[in-house]
Assembly symmetry: C2
């Protein structure tokens, strides 16, 4: 039976990305060695990182003066690297969920943190609005998509300070105005690659402004200076990233990814709103196109496990909601087909007819 | 033509490890999803990390009271995590090469560093002996194998303080008395896996003794408490690690890896010592079994490029020496066959006969 992978992350990748990665692991570019055993400093690997960098700059229309880095450690390590590199005295954070909260916690090791707004009291069911950001902070940090709660901040807030964006779960799903950011970072395991590499896009002139001593590996300048090769980078995850970037380009770039994301999300949210069994969990205007969260309506609560089992029997994978929201979450990253979403919608309709 | 991979790292892996990794990337355990797209919290992945942990404990005979961690960021990140977690006031470091030097540099961010001995003045061509380690340091840090220079410290120094060992390039090549260490760490991309995961073996009771605030991701306790799942771990590199560990066990464990390492190294060093064209670069008693460095004798210096081309034409890959030593380096990790070493020896003999 065909499986539809709605995992929140690590998550679905285009089939050709997976097949090409497997092929290169067996024999990289026909050189008689595995992608897993080549030196990162070899003439075989440099073109991989160069092409991936060029594609990122092209697809996101990255302005001059920004560097693209491929780091290890995950976005969670960035939560500490960001304030370590950018927080001089005071930074602002918008608290839209668990990942924002974790980022805030790490920032407090390095200086004063202003939480400009928070939807914590409402279990992060909306993106706070109508707040202001002080002009004297070093940056405003935002989490553009909240994987757990299913909210998304699809337009940059209008502030007078540089932005720093955790785009782990919606990067490459839509165009972004990179010029508004001093730094964008994203764990790769949603729209980009297998787990094990973190993409960082950093404004060169924003670096070197803090006075603290920064350990070498935590200093973005180290990685800028060495083209992500200060130490051995995660070779295979970077290669898979390149394959995904090629796939995005071939499929029409981030504009087309955006159109597809809207198409998928509109289909699924329409069914959630129509079906008597289900309801969405977040404010409609803040609904994520990537992670679509819904629960059983109160009068059908006891059917939750039955629906999960029914959907699983039809090939749906990874639709269990995060424990802090409950219910269901269908993550619809770039590689999710409209067909997959239609299959889920059909499950919801068939289950409604049976109940 | 068959290629023999003498790369220093990322480096040769057993062929069955590569083939099984590629297979699981296409379809993980027959579940209809790629290893690259499964959730790290799924019932499919937990057995991977559990089995890998159990095999590490079994193969290295790890005593009770130690935790095994799989982290991102590479051994270079450990250079800063080690002092951050263990250095209260003063730590001792044995300087045996570039990696030791980098570790020392990071430790100085966190406290006083005593360099107990150094072979820097002789381009690290030997392991210093006859030094003493102060008893009042928090630990002594050693680099057990020096990839660049080709020296190896195969017996723990006799000191009264806990050891911390960077075993990136010789872990699982020989038995180790883990009880002597508070912490052992190793980038995976030599004897363990593809690049992208770092193995850490840490003594639980050695943690929590420093007073400084430690950012969450840099705190070993975070990863101990969460079984390496505080954040998304590098799923595929960990899986490849498991495959390698299974291969090591099936092939007789670290005792057999040690026997094979001696067999390979003795073959190659014997040829280096016999052949009129070549000489070894380090003190004989400190020769590494993993990275075998040699140069042309002075009177044959002009033949260096010719030998490199000749060996390359016979399928030898990655034998160029590091720029700080010059000449040649044949890295002979666990997966290198005796046949591979014999092929290199044959190149050396044929080239000698021609010149």
């Amino acid at each position: 039976m065909k499986k539809y992978n709605f995992n929140a992350g690590p998550s679905i990748l285009p089939r050709e990305v997976i097949e090409n990665t497997a092929k290169q692991i067996l024999d990289f570019n026909g050189i008689g060695l595995s992608l897993a055993e080549i030196s990162h400093r070899s003439k075989d690997f440099q073109p991989v990182i160069d092409e991936a960098t060029a594609l990122i700059k092209e697809l996101l229309n990255v302005p001059e003066g920004y560097s693209v880095l491929f780091l290890g450690g995950g976005a969670s390590l960035e939560f500490c690297m960001i304030p370590c590199n950018f927080l001089k005295k005071k930074a602002a954070y918008l608290n839209t969920g668990v990942w924002s909260k974790k980022a805030i916690k790490e920032a407090k090791h390095f200086g004063e943190v202003v939480e400009v707004a928070s939807s914590a009291d409402d279990n992060y069911t909306f993106i706070p609005k109508g707040w202001t950001c002080p002009d004297d902070v070093d940056y405003l940090h935002i989490t553009t998509n909240n994987t757990i709660y299913g909210t998304e901040l699809r337009e940059e807030p209008n502030v007078n300070v540089p932005l720093i964006g955790d785009m782990s779960s919606d990067i490459f799903s839509r165009p972004v105005d990179v010029a508004k950011y001093d730094c964008i970072y994203a764990g790769a395991q949603k729209n980009l690659s297998m787990a094990g590499v973190t993409l960082v896009i950093v404004k060169d002139e924003a670096l070197g402004k803090v006075e603290r001593e920064i350990p070498t590996m935590l200093n973005y300048q180290t990685h800028v200076d060495k083209g992500s090769m200060f130490n051995t980078p995660p070779v295979v995850p970077i290669y898979t990233c390149l394959e995904t970037l090629r796939w995005i380009k071939k499929n029409g770039g981030v504009e087309e990814m955006d159109r597809r994301a809207h198409e998928r999300a509109e289909l699924l949210y329409a069914e959630i709103d129509r079906n008597k069994l289900f309801r969405g969990t977040v404010a409609k205007e803040d609904r994520s196109l990537m992670n679509i969260c819904f629960v059983m309506n109160d009068e059908y609560k006891e059917l939750e496990k039955a629906f999960f089992d029914f959907a699983t029997s039809k090939g749906m994978v990874g639709i269990k909601g995060h424990r802090s929201v409950g219910g269901f979450r269908a993550s619809c990253y770039n590689a999710m087909s409209v067909e997959g979403v239609k299959a889920l919608v059909q499950c919801m309709q068939e289950f409604e007819a049976q109940n």
